[in-house]
Every structure is written in C-alpha cells, then in structure tokens.
Symmetry: C2
Subunit: 710 residues, 2 copies
Amino acid sequence: MMTRAQLHQQNLNKIFYPDSVAIVGANKVAGTVPCDILMNILKADFNGIVFPVSPKEKFIAGVKAYKYVVDIQDEVDLAILVFPSSVCHMALEQCGQKGIKSAIIISAGFKEVGNDGVVLENQLKEIAARYDMSFIGPNCLGVINTDPRSKINASFARRMPDEGSIAFLSQSGALCTAVLDYAYAKHIGFSKFISFGNKADISEIDLLYYLKDDPKTKVILMYLEEVTDGLALMEAAEKIITENRKPILILKAGRTSAGASAAASHTGSLAGSDEICDAAFKQAGIIRCENIEEMFNKAIAFAYQPIPKNNRVAIITNAGGPGVLTTDAVVRQGLQLAKLSDETTAVLKKNLPKTANTNNPVDVIGDARADRYNIAMSAAFKDDNVDGVFVILTPQSMTDIDLIAREVAKVSSHYDKPVFTSFMGEADVAVGIDVLQRNKIPHYILPESMAIAFSTVYNFSQISDHRAFNPIDIEETARDKANRILDSAISAGQKYLTENEATQILKFYELPVIENALAQSADEAVSLAVRFGFPIVMKVMSKDIIHKFDVGGVVLNIQSEQEARNAYMKIVDNVRRKLPSAKIDGVLVRKMIPTGEEVILGAKRDPSFGSVVMFGLGGIFVEVFKDVAFRIPPIGESVAKSMVESIKGYPLLSGARGNNPRDIAGIVQCIRRLSQLVTDCSQIRELDINPLIVLDEGKGVFIADAKIML
Amino acid sequence: MMTRAQLHQQNLNKIFYPDSVAIVGANKVAGTVPCDILMNILKADFNGIVFPVSPKEKFIAGVKAYKYVVDIQDEVDLAILVFPSSVCHMALEQCGQKGIKSAIIISAGFKEVGNDGVVLENQLKEIAARYDMSFIGPNCLGVINTDPRSKINASFARRMPDEGSIAFLSQSGALCTAVLDYAYAKHIGFSKFISFGNKADISEIDLLYYLKDDPKTKVILMYLEEVTDGLALMEAAEKIITENRKPILILKAGRTSAGASAAASHTGSLAGSDEICDAAFKQAGIIRCENIEEMFNKAIAFAYQPIPKNNRVAIITNAGGPGVLTTDAVVRQGLQLAKLSDETTAVLKKNLPKTANTNNPVDVIGDARADRYNIAMSAAFKDDNVDGVFVILTPQSMTDIDLIAREVAKVSSHYDKPVFTSFMGEADVAVGIDVLQRNKIPHYILPESMAIAFSTVYNFSQISDHRAFNPIDIEETARDKANRILDSAISAGQKYLTENEATQILKFYELPVIENALAQSADEAVSLAVRFGFPIVMKVMSKDIIHKFDVGGVVLNIQSEQEARNAYMKIVDNVRRKLPSAKIDGVLVRKMIPTGEEVILGAKRDPSFGSVVMFGLGGIFVEVFKDVAFRIPPIGESVAKSMVESIKGYPLLSGARGNNPRDIAGIVQCIRRLSQLVTDCSQIRELDINPLIVLDEGKGVFIADAKIML
C-alpha cells in the first residue's frame, strides 16, 4: 500500500500539471480572492481547462460555471477551494466524491485562528485521508507553475512571474507578494512558486521531495516560521544536495524569542531554539539566510552562473575606492585575490592607459568606456589563475553605462567562469543594471554582497561526500539493555538515573567511564584494582572525614597488587590511629587518570529535531564564553570532527601554546557513541558528561562524571 | 599670528561661499573636466561671478575668458585649477600673486602616481604656505555647496544634488559619483559635498571643524582610505559630537590587509591596523559603517526624524511573516518591543477587523487599506509606551500603496516621534517608496536595516558626558625622570630597558610593581623586607641550583623581622648542607602576593594614532580567544572602565561562577597610569605587563612582570 507521503508525490504532479482545474467558490466580484484566482489562471494562458464552480453564477468571465463540482461531466485534476472556512469541508467532501485527488485550499480561518479553526482543519485532513486526496494549505496564497507545459497561476498574487530555475516555497502568503514584486523588478524568474500556508496535509518536506526531481528547478528557496519535523527536513535536504546538487536556501524567522512568540501567535506553532536550528541547517548543508535580499543575492548566483573551480577572484573597476572596498570584501569572505599571470598583466599594460592599475584589482580608470572593460574582462577570463570576475562600475562623466553592461553579458558568455557585477549608484546606473538583470548576470548593490554570494556558491561546490546522519556500530543488545534500565527507572518514578545506572548505560555504549567501587577488605581492594587496571587511586569513604588527605586517607598512583594491598591496609590503619571515632564506609578504588584537558559533552531533547548533542570546553569556557557546538544525532565521524574543530578553543586541544595535541579522535568517538545513545533512547531528557578528561593524542579520554535526566 | 589650521577655517569660507570664482584652465571641449566644471557652475545658478581663465579662448559658453588669472580686474575669492599637474604650480603661483586665498585643485598626477608627483605636490604646498593660501585637493572631484546663499557646483560630478542636511566628504572622487547617483534616486539631499582627494593642504580634520559650525549640516558622512592623524580626527569628532550633537559616520576602507594594500597603491598611504581603528572610532563616538548603503540608511534616520526618547518600538504590518522578521530584528538590535497601553489596544480592537492582531506587532491584515494604517499609526504614536513606529507593508491585492505612504507622512508629521518604514518588494511598492522618500520618511528595503538605523540613533542619543581623552594626574617630575631613563637607554643603544630601569619608570607612574632585591646578608634581607612590607618571600639565587624548593632554598609567607632573619639564615644553611658546591649569588627578597586572576596590559606605537593601549585576560584568553580591547591614550576613568567591561571574559573579573569580584578599580587605575606613561614617553615602542595579578575587590593589583621595548 502507498504511504501518504508517496500519495502526495503522485498527487502533487496534478497540482503543478493539471489538465483541468475547478475553482470551487468562484465569483464575479473583481478584487476578491475567488475572482482574482480565476482571472489569474485565465490571464496566464493555462494549458488546460478551467471549471468555475459557483452556487450563484451560470458563467464567469465568459466561462460556463457549475453549481457543484460533482456537476462537472469531465474529469477534474485539481480543485482550488476559496469558500469560507466554515463550509470548506463540505466542498472538499464533494471533490472527494467527484474523484478529484489534488486540491489547493486558499481559504483562511483554520489553525491560525485558534481552537475552532483546529477542528475545521482536522475535518479537512480526515476527508483527504478518506478519499486518498492531497491538499496544499489552507490559509495560503496558492501555487504558480511557470513551466510552459502547464503555465498555471493558481494564486491570487498580483502578477505571474517569468519562467526561471528558482523554486520558492513560503509558509507566509503575504511574504510571497513582497517576493514576487521584488523578483519582478529584478527580472528574476521562478520554476515553481508555492505558498503552503498551514501545511495541514502536504508539508514543506513533501514539496522538497517533489522539487528534488523537478527538472525545471535548479535552486530551492523557502521561508519558514516553524520547523515541525527537523529530522525529516534535514534528511530531505541532504538527499537533494548530495544526489541532485541543488542548493537549498532557507529564511527561517523567529530567530529571537520575541520573534518566535510573534511567529507562534501567527501560525499557532512553537519555534525551537534558534541556535540548534542554525547548527542543524549547517549540518544538513542548508544555506540559512537572514532576509529576502540575501536569499535572492545568493539564489541568482546559483541560478545564473557556472560554479567556480576555485575561489580566486579578479576585480575590474573604474574607481580606486570601490576597488579597495571590494578587495576588503573578498578577503573578509575568505576568497583569494587572484594573482594575474604575467601574460595577463602584459596584455593589460599594452592595451590600457599608462595610469591604469594592471594588478588585481585592475583599475581601468575613471574615463574608461566599454572597450577598456572588454580588454580587462577578456584578459581576466582567459587567465588560468582567475576563477571568477567581479566587475565594478561607478557612473563617472565618460562612463557609457549600458554599453559596458552589454559588454559584460557578451564577453562572459564566451567563458565557463562566473561573473558578478556591482554598478554603484542608483539612478544613472539603473539602465546598466537592467541590461545585466535581463541577461542573467548577477548584480549586487554592494561589493560585499557580491563576495558573499560568490563564496556561498564556492563553499556549496565543496560539499562532497556529505552525510548529515550516520549511526555508529554498537553491540546489538546495547540498545535493549539501556532501554530496560531507563524504562524501569521511569516506572519507579525516578527523575534521573543513579550513578550506577548511568555508568551501566554508558558502558553499554562503550563510553569510557572511569569505574570505581567500594572495597570492604584488602582482598576486595586488590581484585577491584586488577579489574580496573593499574595505576589505581584509593580513598577512604566516611561521612565523618572531611579532609581525607590530612588523615592519610588517600593513596595515589598504586602500581601493583602488592601496593594495592599495602595501600588499603595503610589507609585503614592511618584513619584508625588519627580519627578513631570515624565510621569507615569502605575504601573507594578507582583507576587513576592523569590530568588532561576538561571538556563537556551533553545532549537534550528538542521539540523540532528530536535530540541534540552538545560539545564544548569545560568550566568557564562554557559558562562565560558559551564556546559550544551543537549537532543533531546520530552523527558520523566527519560531522563529529567538524563539531570539535568548530569551537573557538579548539587550539587548546590541537596543541596550542607548545602543549601536546590532545586525543581528539577519542573525543570524536565519544561524541558519536553518545549521539547514538540518545538516538536509541528517547527516554533520556538530558545528559551531561562533565568533565570528559582528554589526555594526549592516542592516550584516550575518560568520563569523570555523568548525569542522565529522564 | 594665525596657525595654518586657523587660516584654513577662514579660507574654507571662501571655498564654500565665494563671491567670485576663477576656473583656471577652462576650455570649450564638452565632456572634458575643465569644461564640465565651468558648465556645472553656470548650470547650478551660482550666486556670484565666474571668470574662465584659458590660455587659448576669448570666451567660453558666452562668458568672457582671461588669459591669466592676474588679468582679472575684479577680486577673485576662489580659484579652481584644472591644468595638467606639470603646470599646476605655475597657475597656483599666479593665484597667489593675484591675492586669491582659496583654491580647489582638481588636477590629478600628484602623490598618487609616485615620486615625481610627490615633488609636484610639495611645490603646491610651498606656494600655498608662502601666500597664506589654502587649497582642497589635488586629485579630487571638487566641492558642492547646495546652500542657496552660494549654490555652487564646483565639481565635475554628473549632477547637482538637492539641498539637505547631510554633509559628505570623500577621499575617493569616483566613489562620489556613485554616492551622488545613489542619493539622487532616493531624494537624499546634501548640505556640502566635498571630494578632498590627496588632502595635501586642507585635510579632512580642517573640513570637520568647518562643518562643526556649519548651520546647514546636521549629519557628517566621510569615506576615508587612510587615517593620517588619528588623534586629531578623534579630537575633532569628540568636539562635534558633544558640543554640536552632530553624528559622524565614517566608511573606512582597507579593513583587511589586502584591502589596505590596494588602498596603499591607490593613494600612496599606509593604513593602520583595522582593529585599532575600530576601537578608536568607538572611543571618539564615531559611527563606523561597512558600506554606502548602511551609511545612508543611518544618515537619513538622523537627518529626517526626531531623536527617540527611549527604545520601545511599535510595529505595524499588513503581513504576519514580515512582522515576525521585524520582531526578530528589533530584539536582535537590543531594542524593545513596546507593550501597548490598554487604551491603545482598546482603540485597535474597536476599529480594526476581528482577525487583526491588536498586540505588538500590530497586524492590520492583508486586505488593509490606508484607513486601517491610519488607525493603527495614530494609536501607536499617541501611546506613551511607544517611542518609535515601524510601518511594514507588503503589496497584496487590495493594498493602496501610495495612499498608505501619504498617510504615513501625514500622520507622523503630527507627532514628535520617529517613524521608519519598510515597503517590501520593489516594482509595485516603488510608487509608495517614492512618496516616502520625497516626504523625508526613512525607508528601508529590509526590516533589519530599519532596526539597525533606529538603534544607531538611539545609542547616539545616549552619549552624554563623553570624553575620549582624559589625562591622569601624575607627579610633575615623573615624566622628566622617565624620559631621562629612556633617553639614556636609547643613547646606550639598548633595544629594551633592564628590569631595574623598567621598574623605576613604572614606579614613577605609581604603577604597582612588586619590588624585589638581592640580599647578601641577614641584616640586608630584614631591611629589604621592612621596606617592601610583610608578608615576604625569600628565594636563593644561584646559577647552580635548578630546583630551589628541593634544597630548601625557598621560604614563603614571612610575617616579621625575626622570621625574615631566620628565613635568610635557614636558606643559606640548607643550601650549604645539601649543595655545598653551589655558588650563592644572594637571597631574593620579594613581597608575597596571593594568587589572583591574571590579566595583561600592554601598549604599542601605531602609525595612525600615536599610541594604543591593550587590555585582556592572560594566557590562553589572549592567545587563543584574542579576547582583548584597545583604546587610544590618554584615557579617563569611564573609557578605561568600558575597556575592562568590553572583553568577553569580564564575568571572570566581576564575580562569575560564585567567585569573589576582583579589584576592577585597581585595573582601571593601572590602565590609566599606563596610558599616561605611553602618552608622555613616545620613546616606548612596546610595553607589556604580563601578568598583572588582580586580587579581590579592594585588595589591589600587582605587576608581576613587565617589559619595555624601545
């Protein structure tokens, strides 16, 4: 049998490529949503048949109307529902009866208005499930497909966008209107444009999987207010990125808690912690954007231009100051300023005026016209040391702005290297910018944005055998044994595990707990010492003794069985003599660990992502500097390694200040085992390993203390 | 006698308000700089007389021309030189002979082209000095004054900007063309617009002082590639900010070293370290910007709107998603989301549709027209809990964009609170944005920029008894005594001071050096101990002894004269017995310091700012986390305090993790004394106090080790 998710994929095809559409709830009142949608479909030259369904009208805009959807004789692929929320379920029921499998529910007044709306929304879900239907919405702007094979504007947006290779998905319908307007002005086209609203049935995950294999889509953009199923989002993203090499850019609102609560009142949903969301997106290869402008700045770089082979940039400018600003931006974004070849420099020297700067940034000087830009660009494109070209222009009195823009489009079309432009100013340069945008040359108001876009594309091209999730091999029974302990602790009403229970679970997952036990006799002390392995530490345990060292109650660095026996006897003897009144509970035997760097590992549950694991340096580094990293488990070696390397204090582990490098491989192993543990055992609410003691490279790591909360 | 700086102020008045102008080197060839400048002045309706000076022409554009400037009978206030650099000095000489006191030298080909240019530039300076003349340039675009009293466009810019209250100064002429174009499109006006080029005579500092008292200028913007005299810049900025309450926004290029080297090849000047520049600007109250857009985003907030009384913001939007994004931005910028009064909420509930959100962010819902915006804005402006209003608009199908823009302008004009807007999109919203810009309502493409601009204005309003520099009272002779030691060390060819010399100098400046000295006898040890004060530490000094503790060569915590005598004898006795062959150099006597937090103080010379002082936590915090702060000396108490508080590790000093608060007042005193020392003694190339041991609050700080490099 087909799962709902599989069904959605099948039905989504009829949402984007229907042969016939019913507008259920259409009317003749221009300026209202039902009428606007019908007109939008008719205006956009839809490649199929439209059936208005209206209880009152016989025809609308010259098109025959039907009273009920069941009255339509022909087959209907897609229903667009624009009835008030209170009667929507009846209309959907009829669509089901008619055998329509796909719907877009535009109507608002569902989950977003509170409890009454939730009831109505659940009715829609129930009907869809019953008829094997799939729907987008409710509470959305609709869907647009620019593909000439369908060409449908099933939305009440003001305009139909151009065809393009960018897909845009949005949880907010209103934002869609701003995006369409923004994109229209910049001649940015779309493959699919989807407002998914309350995502009651078809979710953003379903849409991502649909776009994964959509040949018209090269780049996927999404505006999201809440991550409902973080793991599914990450998995989908990973597949799309690694299998299809399509970048995913997400603008996630609700960064701050006030923003999240505004988001909550808006969509009736709770946002997870933003820091975790950041880490999860990065782990999955998702490019997180701060605003619409940043999103499109990056999207057009992906959509319009070839991927650069490396990150060496040549700058061509007609003004020194902007050249400096661009150089700053290039370096700050981790790109390289290309070292031009001798040949290139020679060509430039020969063909540019004497005062021109023939090094990178190449300054063609203020009175440069299109011919000089042509010379400099051609030379830069031909240079094997150059992977991409940045063209800067300021509108000086001699500057033939539109000709230079045309030259950029013409010259760059001959080479398989990206070109990025910044024509600085606004009024005079507008004509040039327009030429660039029409010719799909990425243009940026700021040199900084140009450098950011280039480095985003370059960094994306470097993602190779990316694998967000990767379980680790643990003895098969470990999971069952751990779950048994956890379940019985929960049954017993425990809020956290005892030390002994925690130690057992950590050991099942082969985590290096430093074991200890109380010995009541010298024989017992010796056998524990043998079990734990030398060197050993012994300490008297007694509620009556505060300063164990002062009464001779501690022996360090015990190396053999004989020494262990002696140590036990000596401790008991010392205490008896110095504090005869003290009641001795026993002698604690523990493996002795050399001092090392102290780090923290942790995990907690997250409403969006299930679990999250944490790593940081211990003590003040966590508390004062907040120097920690998060990942979503289960993680593989490279992700765990990147986690360790990402903290600011990493040099302390890798061997800064003349110290020995620490056992980073040991930390990585621990993180992976811990990440598997919390993946397997969702009963664990929080887990804290603090500290994990990290010895020198190859010498291991040891858990000195661990707490598991339920 | 007048200083050159005073003379410049007088002569600058004739640069901006000349009654008569000579264009020296004018010609008839349209499209060339000399002709463009003449035409620009004529076209802009200059309120004075223009005299073209041309070796070849009898008249230009209908205006009588003169062969030489000395041929002009009338008085000439201002000369604009556009001759090639090779003959510029001859023209300037003639201007001097004619008695012209003010000049703008447009011509390029001076310092920026290398050595030959430097010679020519020096000739200009020599001539100006000889005739008490002042000039702007060379190598610049010129000067514009929009004040109707003068109305002069003495530049070859493409267009004359509108009148406004923003002054713009730029080291790069080409950037000016981009700025003028950018501002024109956004209806941003200027008071003065100055391209100052190589600043061979009149510097940016002179211009700042001129603009300080210019009644037409409210906000000062500057693009700078090199800070030549950082201290003078800071002083000027401080005066303008505190005395005239005019904000100064600087776009300083050359952030990265590659950028700086591009800057160096561009203007023949060396940029200082960017981190220091950042700190210095902040210290002086200067607002540093990253790019032109950010600069104008902030400038219009200052120029157009009243200063908010507090930072509580009300958001009005017709779309939930953008409301969330704006809330995020507000919180992230440290602003508060205003809590609307009950009265406001009641008004909104009564007058807005039921589905509207009447809490902040106020959502007037997608079908809102101007009337609903009016209701929400009026209520927000009237609310005492609101200090500023952010108006967001997305272009939905019912949105009457231009009417809403007009409503914003109208309503806000009745209240003394700032309003900021973001009409999201580009094409459809353009008509509304144009209305806003013409009405001097700050508009921003991104909600984020809106929040940044608001918080910049608010933070600026909080600068009160700001004082960048503040010397400390040190005994008058200290400076002389320190200088004597430093000078004699330099004469002796020393690269750094001996420990004894360094200690002496630090003591002159009352810095808490832990003193120590070698005792050769028990009597001497006792008298040193008395001099330093108990408790005391003694250590044997001998090249033959490595482990002093092991041979009984160290005694800690000596509390009295008797204990001191005993300790000395015991140390000598121990060493004699255990290592009879060791040659004893003496016993080191030192005040004993309890352990405390270790911090670092330092100072070094900086090419732009003279000196710079540094503070940070010791050890790994400096080396790995780079957790340090810089300031330009001499600094007062509040600046020194802000320096200590600005490091990330500050909680470690203020009493985090249940520790006692440390002696921060002691650190502040040390920083101030150190800052005075390096101000007084420019022979000090570098100074390192590492560590300074900081005890608990009120217990003092102590210098454990210090190095002074020459």
